[in-house]
């Protein structure tokens, strides 16, 4: 896309690799927007949103097979050449999450997993103890683990030490659309992380995604902010551009903030 060529061209003067790629566990992605597939009314709407978003990595959930279900979402993602990221959504214990991850590996021929171990239905917040336990087991079992975590800088570091390929702190609880409630914690996580930090959950609009990247995140993961927007495909374009804008702003080095004004025209 013409824009991408621009980006490539543009990043040259900076010391960034050109093009500016996202690398997770040695795998290279051209897009820093990770999508979820939940919440879309139908596959046609989902397809338009995914195509527009430019995403190259997208989550699916594992559920009991039923006659009606079919494997539509898998076929779609394969057709679009998007890498699958199965999640363990709905799991409450390390044991459940580990079994679900293993079934996903078996079914989808991938050892990547978005690890979710939530504590309750009202907040869908991660259970820190079960999450860390599951992460350790799955790393031992050879998985590439991308854990959905809260914004606690300590837990993020523990997950990295446990061998996770990335850490995915929330901006705010899943589905709230409250954006990034605690930018300071995200900055603390980024300041100490040796793996990619992917802002996961809470994104409500494009500026939330843009801010995540400006704070130093390597990517953004979102689903319903796009799939449940009035116009999912258009919101997908907004998120695509918002992520790109935030990444470029982070690399470009913003101007400092001042208390008093400073003229942009020469004195008369």
């Amino acid at each position: 896309m013409n824009t991408d060529t621009n980006e490539v061209h543009l990043t040259m003067p900076t010391d960034e690799p050109a093009p500016d790629e996202l690398v997770i566990a040695g795998t290279v992605f051209g897009s820093r927007l990770v999508m979820g597939t939940g919440g879309a009314t139908n596959l046609a709407i989902l397809e338009r949103a995914l195509r527009t978003s430019g995403t190259e990595l997208t989550t699916v959930a594992m559920r009991r097979m039923d006659a009606t279900g079919g494997t539509g979402v898998l076929d779609l993602l394969r057709r679009l050449g998007i890498t699958l990221l199965p999640n363990t959504a709905g799991c409450r214990t390390a044991a459940e999450a580990v079994l679900t991850a293993r079934l996903a590996r078996e079914a989808l021929d991938t050892d990547w997993v978005k690890l979710e171990v939530v504590a309750d239905d009202r907040t869908l917040l991660p259970d820190p103890i079960e999450l860390l336990d599951a992460a350790e087991q799955l790393v031992d079992d050879g998985f590439t683990v991308l854990p959905y975590t809260n914004d606690d800088p300590v837990l993020a570091l523990r997950l990295e030490e446990a061998g996770c390929a990335a850490v995915m702190p929330l901006g705010s609880p899943i589905g709230t659309g409250l954006g990034i409630r605690n930018p300071h914690n995200i900055e603390l996580i980024v300041a100490r992380a040796g793996v990619p930090v992917i802002l996961d959950a809470g994104i409500g609009t494009a500026s939330d995604a843009c801010v995540a990247m400006e704070l130093g995140c390597s990517a953004v993961l979102l689903a319903t902010a796009v799939t449940k927007a009035t116009d999912p495909a258009l919101m997908a374009a907004a998120m695509r551009d918002g992520v790109r804008a935030g990444r470029a702003a982070r690399l470009a080095g913003r101007v400092p903030q001042r208390f008093w004004a400073q003229a942009s025209s020469p004195p008369r």
């Binding site: 699916v60 959930a61 494997t71 699958l84 996903a104 078996e106």
Partner: protein
């Protein structure tokens, strides 16, 4: 022989295997995984893995989510 498949009570002829269950579920060739009483059963072992009386069989596939 009785087993629970995806939460439902099934009656199965003795000697049934995981493959039989999948056939009856009309499962697609790919994108599916099976757990028998909490253990993953690799695809290669489906034909030779018997369903035991009282087994809980979970057959999972990928759906929209996350």
């Amino acid at each position: 022989m009785k087993a629970i498949v995806n939460g439902e009570h099934w009656d199965l002829p003795d000697g049934s295997t995981v493959s039989d269950v999948l056939r009856r579920l009309d499962a697609p060739a790919s994108g599916v995984a099976v757990a028998r009483s909490g253990e993953v059963v690799p695809k290669a072992e489906w034909p030779d893995t018997p369903v035991r009386d009282g087994d809980e069989i979970e057959v999972l596939t990928a759906v929209q989510g996350g």
